[in-house]
Symmetry: C2
Subunit: 269 residues, 2 copies
């Protein structure tokens, strides 16, 4: 799928993932023709960035697109998918329903099964990355996990057109992938946040930690996380650990410190 044969896509959603995915799709020769968000400003902001039409009512979503990407919060995904499908079906003449047979619907939620989508042609397109609206990240080299009983080839071609690595994975396995990502990304980022708070108490700039944070991430390209581990917990240096606990004022943080230290020690036994 080159510049010439890019797909026409409707994006349902205008959050972090929707934003970064749509921008990357357009950069790779595809065309986002509409952006839907119930929040008018969100639809307008992303549509303006993409140069397409914003819509904030499902009734205004075009029934003519070959591909609909649903990238909304997990809690509302099923409801939005059903609402969209019903709305599109109402507006196509019986017997010539692009929606019923011709169009493909995919969601991007790692933790949601394929079958939250009620459509005939459906799939999952889950890029393994952390996205923020304001921060451009390359899709080239990114692993994308796809699932589609009917259209795996289409999704593979789409992902490859963006330079992504493609993995087929079913909904049951993808749940583990999403859980693993929470640890690797959200929880490790929270460790940075706690670090920043501890430093702030002494007026030390967070920047002094960046070489350490970078090397910690780089290390696991070459070593397993187990092999890469250092510090008082892996040595089970109780004197140092007790001194650290004494410095923490927040009881929850003390508990987190203790639990993680014990867990590190368990993993190395």
């Amino acid at each position: 799928m080159g510049q010439g044969d890019g797909m026409e896509i409707v994006c349902i959603g205008a959050g972090n993932l929707a934003t970064r995915l749509c921008v990357a799709l357009q950069q790779c020769g595809h065309r986002v023709v509409q952006v839907f968000s119930r929040t008018e400003e969100c639809a307008a902001a992303l549509a303006a960035q993409l140069g397409c039409e914003p819509v904030c009512r499902l009734e205004d979503v075009t029934p003519e697109a070959p591909l609909y990407i649903l990238s909304v919060r997990d809690q509302v995904l099923e409801e939005v998918a059903h609402g969209l499908y019903a709305s599109l079906l109402r507006r196509v003449a019986p017997g010539r329903s692009n929606v019923g047979a011709g169009a493909l619907f995919v969601h991007t939620a790692g933790s949601m099964p394929l079958d939250v989508l009620p459509m005939l042609r459906r799939g999952v397109f889950y890029p393994m990355q952390t996205f923020s609206k304001q921060r451009e990240v390359p899709f080239a080299g990114l692993p994308v996990f796809i699932e589609s009983p009917t259209d795996a080839a289409v999704l593979r071609t789409l992902a490859e057109s963006m330079g992504c690595g493609v993995y087929e994975m079913d909904s049951a396995s993808r749940r583990y992938l999403h859980l693993a990502a929470v640890f690797a990304c959200n929880f490790s980022n929270h460790m940075y946040d706690v670090c920043a708070r501890v430093l702030a108490r002494k007026g030390i700039p967070f920047e002094v930690m960046l070489p350490l944070i970078d090397e910690t991430a780089r290390k696991v390209h070459a070593l397993t996380p187990r092999e890469a581990q250092t510090g008082p917990a892996v040595r089970y240096d109780q004197t140092v650990m007790q001194r650290h606990l004494d410095l923490l004022e927040d009881e929850d943080l003390k508990q987190i410190y203790n639990l993680l230290s014990q867990h590190i020690h368990q993993y190395t036994l």
Copy 2:
């Protein structure tokens, strides 16, 4: 301090930090003249790498060096420092004691105070990094935290000769720095380790997480960790969080998942 005026250094210890620091010092024009470790093989391995003399008894440490770097486990630092000092003093003629007045002794332990060293000229030289013996890391650009009532200028020159950023910090503040580093490095690395275990249960290779891990680290160069946070905990998406908990079999991990999710949510309130 250029190539021509490198320092002659005795290294007490042969662990991860000692190894990486000595190698870097020699690359920057200094000369490690002896390596001490109680474990003969450790002393021999590092000394061979540096092309210097290994010693495994404190009585064999030369009293003639201008700089002694003590890089041993926190638990034994005070004992080794006192043993070394006593041994050196016994071997120098009264009145011409290089040891008593001429030599400088520094330790490299972030969590240990300056005054575990009994010497007159003493200091701390704490590079903010995670070190493994087998993995070379650049010292250029690394923040080094120094403390010395008598010799801050010497330590600053030494750190600058290696291209490090130099910060003066007293023992009381350095404890917070070390605690912060445990969160930023050891605990975030443990999150990678848990991630690897979750993936292994489904036969998914850890490599698929590397772009996510890298971007999570890169993000906090531009955003605060708070701004960078994404995922179910920061949205407080209880449906997703419950599904994740259901996948975890290890009770300790369930507790860690719950505590960290609640803590992320607290921080964003």
